[in-house]
């Protein structure tokens, strides 16, 4: 109920901020010793008179002054606004389109209070702006020093004053106006002349819609409408890089790829080529490349081209994509042309044209919760509960988030009656917690999450893995145990697990300890795959206690495919 209220509350607020007329005009507000945010700004006209004008023009002055809501306002001072006017070639705010200015103010407003402590954690702020974007906080050094003197928002504006407390929130004063992210990935392709071949290939192969749509509208069976933000990582090849391969036009690219004219077909070579340059989710450079101390390491990423993967590699401290040991070569990102943000993702430029290849076989760690729709549902839960983008981020307390059939397509499952209590959903996402001061979650779970399976006797769930390359593998399942599962530890709990068409019966919890932690069992000592493909894993609960025991559930963490070298 509480969360519904919150949702309604934030929906109302969004409506108010979206409204054209100031709905609070003429209303009076409670008087405190401290001032509400807009009134506070007004008390310092020498610094903020111009932002006040902007708030009024956007009909948002009174909205951010309400005492019933809390806000974090990012307020450029007068000098910053003057510079902004110069940049925009105007002398007053009225010369700018009102809708644009409203978007601008929304981009500078978050409707929760972000304290100085939280702010100084740095990185992406966990709560989005009213415009639905996430601001980032970074730290540097400048002529005034470092630390508090060198805090930046979006690497664009320096914070001049931190967390000024007002009765309805906090204010951060900026030395320049933030540029809202309004461009989509597709806009970014369009605005850069050097991306013309890649852009045309996107147009022809039917990816344009995905790259130009920040939100997917999802209608549930209950009639609920939700907007799920979809983000992508796009590896773009610029025209001059194509030229190095002798490709001067999209037709030459098509020729090089040997693509037939059905470009939008999922098996078409051009469609696959562009899909191969896309990952789901926003992956910054620091997310892409595994830095494992001094050791070389590799991550395999599923691309949006069906069954095609690419690898990111750290070799002798150098970052590559699709590094081949045999040749010692790989593709690199172009320095200074990475982490180009767009409203719906991020762009990195490549120094090679990156055809589809099969990377060298490696260990595959499959986090069984790593699906876009799971991420979207979990982040929507986070937004409703003030946790921000909480997917794969441990919290101060555990959260068990139900996964419902109308929102999730990555899992197929069949549920039967279950007696288990304690808030364990039949199929759910367990977001772990970490104790105060700790830097790992209490379970030690990979990526801070687990899949809860509590589907009753003979219930089952199936899901598909990332692409596992052709070859022989040992397969291990990693799962969590806890004190409340002590009844299952002795002898284990029978499950049938199949990978593609090969089945085995295993006893989960056998050999584990009845204490919080991650344990493993080997599903298959050796299994052979004759192609590069995603694998389907199905787990059937064969233990009658799945329907009768009050504590029954599985908490699945990840599956590990280890190549077996003969």
């Amino acid at each position: 109920m509480k969360s519904i209220n919150k949702v309604i509350g934030s929906a109302l607020l969004v409506l108010l901020l979206f409204a054209c007329d100031d709905p609070y005009e003429g209303k009076t507000f409670r008087i405190y010793e401290e001032l509400p945010s807009a009134t506070y700004l007004e008390s310092r006209p020498e610094d903020f008179s111009m932002w006040i004008e902007i708030l009024r023009y956007a009909d948002m002055y009174n909205a951010v002054n309400q005492s019933s809501q809390t806000f974090t306002l990012f307020v450029p001072d007068n000098e910053a606004v003057e510079n902004f006017y110069k940049k925009m070639g105007v002398s007053s705010i009225e010369e700018l389109d009102k809708t644009y200015v409203q978007e601008l103010v929304k981009y500078h407003t978050i409707n929760v209070e972000i304290s100085q402590k939280i702010f100084l954690i740095g990185g992406k702020l966990t709560s989005p702006t009213v415009s639905g974007d996430y601001l980032t906080v970074s730290f540097g050094e400048n002529e005034s020093g470092g630390g508090l003197n060198a805090i930046y928002v979006n690497d664009e504006a320096r914070v001049k004053e931190l967390a000024i407390e007002t009765i309805n929130g906090v204010i951060y004063v900026l030395d320049s106006v933030l540029t809202p992210l309004v461009e989509t990935l597709y806009d970014r392709l369009e605005e850069n002349e050097n991306y013309s071949i890649f852009k045309e290939a996107v147009d022809l192969s039917g990816w344009k819609k995905r790259l130009s749509t920040p939100y997917d509208t999802v209608y549930s069976q209950l009639g609920k409408v939700s907007y799920l933000k979809k983000n992508y990582t796009l590896f773009v090849v610029a025209d001059d890089i194509f030229a190095q391969e002798g490709i001067q036009s999209v037709n030459e690219l098509i020729e090089k790829l040997g693509a037939l004219p059905d470009y939008t077909d999922s098996n078409n070579a051009l469609h696959k080529y562009i899909g191969y340059h896309m990952l789901s989710q926003t992956q910054y450079v620091e997310d892409l490349f595994p830095f494992d101390g001094q050791n070389d390491s590799t991550i395999i990423w599923s691309t949006l081209a069906e069954n095609e993967v690419l690898s990111t590699n750290s070799v002798d401290g150098i970052c590559y994509i699709n590094y081949k040991k045999s040749t010692g070569e790989g593709i690199r990102l172009i320095e200074g042309k990475t982490d180009i943000l767009a409203k719906n993702g991020i762009i990195h430029e490549l120094d090679g044209y990156m055809p589809i290849i099969t990377p060298d076989p490696v260990i595959v760690i499959w986090d069984v919760c790593e699906y876009d729709d799971v991420a979207a549902v979990v982040n929507a839960y986070g937004a409703e509960n003030g946790l921000g983008d909480c997917y794969q981020q441990y919290q101060t307390s555990e959260h068990k988030i139900s996964l419902m059939g109308d929102e999730i397509t990555s899992y197929q499952w069949k549920a039967y009656s279950s007696k288990s209590t304690g808030g364990w959903p039949q199929l759910g996402y367990l977001l772990t917690k970490a104790n105060t001061g700790a830097t790992v979650n209490t379970y030690g779970a990979y990526k801070n999450d687990m899949l809860i399976v509590n589907l009753g006797y003979m219930g089952w769930v199936s899901m598909t893995s990332p692409v596992v390359l052709k070859g022989k593998y040992k397969i291990d399942l990693y799962y969590a145990c806890a004190g409340s599962l002590s009844d299952f530890v002795s002898g284990g709990s029978k499950c049938q697990v199949s990978i593609d068409n090969t089945s085995t019966e295993v006893y989960i919890y056998d050999g584990a300890q009845a204490s919080v932690g991650i344990y493993s069992l080997t599903l298959f000592d050796e299994i052979y795959f004759d192609n590069n493909a995603q694998r389907t894993m199905k787990i059937v609960l064969m233990d009658p206690r799945a329907s009768t025991h009050k504590d029954y559930r599985l908490q699945l963490d990840y599956v590990k495919f280890t190549p077996v070298i003969d």
């Binding site: 470092g146 060198a150 407390e165 001061g437």
Partner: protein, 510 residues
């Protein structure tokens, strides 16, 4: 009435007279000593004793200030120090505990001579000896102030009446350092500083001439006077007096520095005695394995595990069961430890057993000989650019290592540079003096010397690598700001002393 300065509350009353046996047992009844008080030797004694007692009150601050920014240990309940987010409103930047000690010292220095005139039993030699202790207490307190605030008000007169103006501007680091050196020099010049006291605890718990030399060496290192540092270290390390503090070479005796404490190696430690005087402290519970406030960070735990690997468990000295206790069920499983408990203040030897309930009184060591040896090594590296000096430095480091059953380091001196040499000292200090309130000052001293020549290597890199609670890019940014390396003046202090100017780094924090 003039505004009452925060750190010297006005209370009416006088000290109870105390006998020598009661040293360090009686808390003063007030913090302001009136003119009419000073009539007898015992009164001087009791005020001097109060200075030591006030140092006890400062110990948890000394741990927080000296360790949390240094990142080898952290407060598991959180601290603004370890995340480099201290604000002027944080109680952690209240320096009152140190100024209380300074006031006691100032009172003794201002009045002892007059009492000597009044009380014929107060012999000159005794009086002078008391003065050396007061100089030490004042100098040590200011040295903590310098290392934490850089600039602070220099107060040399006691607050005895309301007639004194309480507002006082800051003095610069150089002025404070000059005063500290002058105090120590004055104390040593009288020749009255004792080599030992009658009671064993007092030899380690009151300021001896060894304590004065150790402090002077430390101050010289801080102020980049390496010849001075070496000279003062030598006064201890080359002393022939039978009462000199001596490096304990026997590895099996290493833990005796912490339990029972007051070892031969000790030079000065802050004292408690529960059995005889019912003085206990909370160090065994702040540290230790029960529900500790302080723990080693994961990176520091790894250092201990690595060093345990070298000696093996059975020959471990300053690692497993010495400086740390792993959270594994069996000691042999130490490599899988996920938590390293700090063991110096909680244990009773190389074992898991903890201090009994009637011995919750570990001392807090300020100086010991191994510290002085490593100070000398550091100064030798920086003073000399020749292999002879550097070899002596390596020999000193190796003496400390061998005592812990570790192999000697044997670098080829012609092939390594000053920074590498300094790294040996810094690493050795980290392991040997773990959790003794030194780490942050070490990193700051190594990082800031010679115009911050080694800021990246010894300050930023080390903190980023060991800190487990703050964003690395935030740490890097903060540590690039010279002013941010020091604490803000507490906001209440600023309200009461209008002449104080806040450290400019903290000016924009609201």
């Amino acid at each position: 009435m003039k505004k009452v300065i925060r750190y010297f509350l006005l209370l009416i009353g006088s000290f109870q007279l105390i006998s020598c046996e009661d040293w360090l047992t009686v808390y003063p009844q007030n913090e302001q000593i009136r003119d009419e008080y000073w009539t007898s030797k015992e009164e001087v004694e009791s005020v001097l004793a109060a200075g030591y007692v006030y140092f006890r009150d400062a110990v948890q601050n000394l741990i927080d200030w000296g360790e949390l920014r240094g990142a080898c240990i952290y407060n598991q309940y959180g601290s603004d120090l370890q995340i480099f987010q201290v604000t002027p409103d944080d109680g952690i930047c209240n320096w009152a505990s140190l100024y209380k000690v300074i006031n006691m010292a100032n009172s003794v220095l201002a009045n002892a001579e007059a009492v000597h005139e009044r009380d014929k039993t107060f012999e000159e030699a005794v009086m002078k000896s008391y003065l050396t202790e007061a100089y030490f207490l004042r100098a040590l307190s200011y040295f903590y102030l310098v290392r934490n605030w850089r600039d602070a008000p220099l107060i040399l007169d006691p607050y005895e009446t309301d007639e004194i103006g309480y507002e006082k501007e800051k003095s610069s680091e150089n002025e404070l350092i000059d005063q500290i050196k002058s105090d120590i020099t004055t104390a040593l010049a009288t020749g009255a500083a004792k080599e030992r006291f009658e009671k064993d605890w007092a030899t380690k718990g009151r300021a001896t001439k060894w304590a004065l030399y150790a402090l002077m060496a430390d101050v010289c290192l801080w102020s980049e006077d390496y010849a001075g540092a070496i000279m003062n270290c030598n006064e201890i390390l080359n002393a022939s007096s039978p009462f000199r503090p001596a490096f304990v070479k026997d590895p099996s005796k290493w833990y005796e520095m912490y339990y029972p404490g007051n070892s031969n190696e000790s030079i000065f430690e802050i004292q408690w005695d529960q059995v005889n005087y019912n003085q206990s402290n909370n160090l065994p519970t702040l540290f230790g394995s029960s529900t500790p406030t302080y723990l080693y960070t994961e990176r520091m735990l790894q250092d201990f595990i690595d060093e345990t690997d070298i000696t093996g468990i059975n020959n471990a000295v300053r690692t497993i069961y010495g400086s740390y206790l792993p959270n594994t069920a069996a000691a042999t499983d130490y490599k899988n430890a996920t938590q390293g408990y700090i063991w110096k203040y909680t244990g009773i030897g190389f074992q898991e057993q903890t201090r009994p309930s009637n011995e919750q009184d570990p001392n807090f060591i300020i100086y010991r000989v191994a510290d002085v040896m490593l100070m000398k090594a550091e100064a030798l590296i920086l003073r000399d650019d020749n292999e002879e000096g550097w070899q002596t430095a390596i020999d000193l480091i190796n003496e400390v290592r061998v005592r812990s059953n570790l192999p000697k380091i044997e670098p080829v001196l012609s092939e390594i540079g000053e920074a590498d040499m300094l790294q040996y000292v810094l690493d050795e200090r980290k392991m040997e003096l773990a959790a003794e309130g030194k780490r942050w000052y070490d990193l700051l001293r190594f990082g800031k010397r010679n115009g911050f020549k080694y800021r990246d290597r010894f300050l930023i890199s080390e903190v980023v690598e060991y800190n487990n609670t703050a964003n690395p890019s935030w740490i890097q940014s903060v540590l690039r700001d010279d002013d941010a390396l020091y604490l803000p003046i507490w906001s209440k202090e600023l309200e009461n002393n209008k002449l104080l100017i806040q450290n400019p780094y903290y000016g924009i924090v609201k």
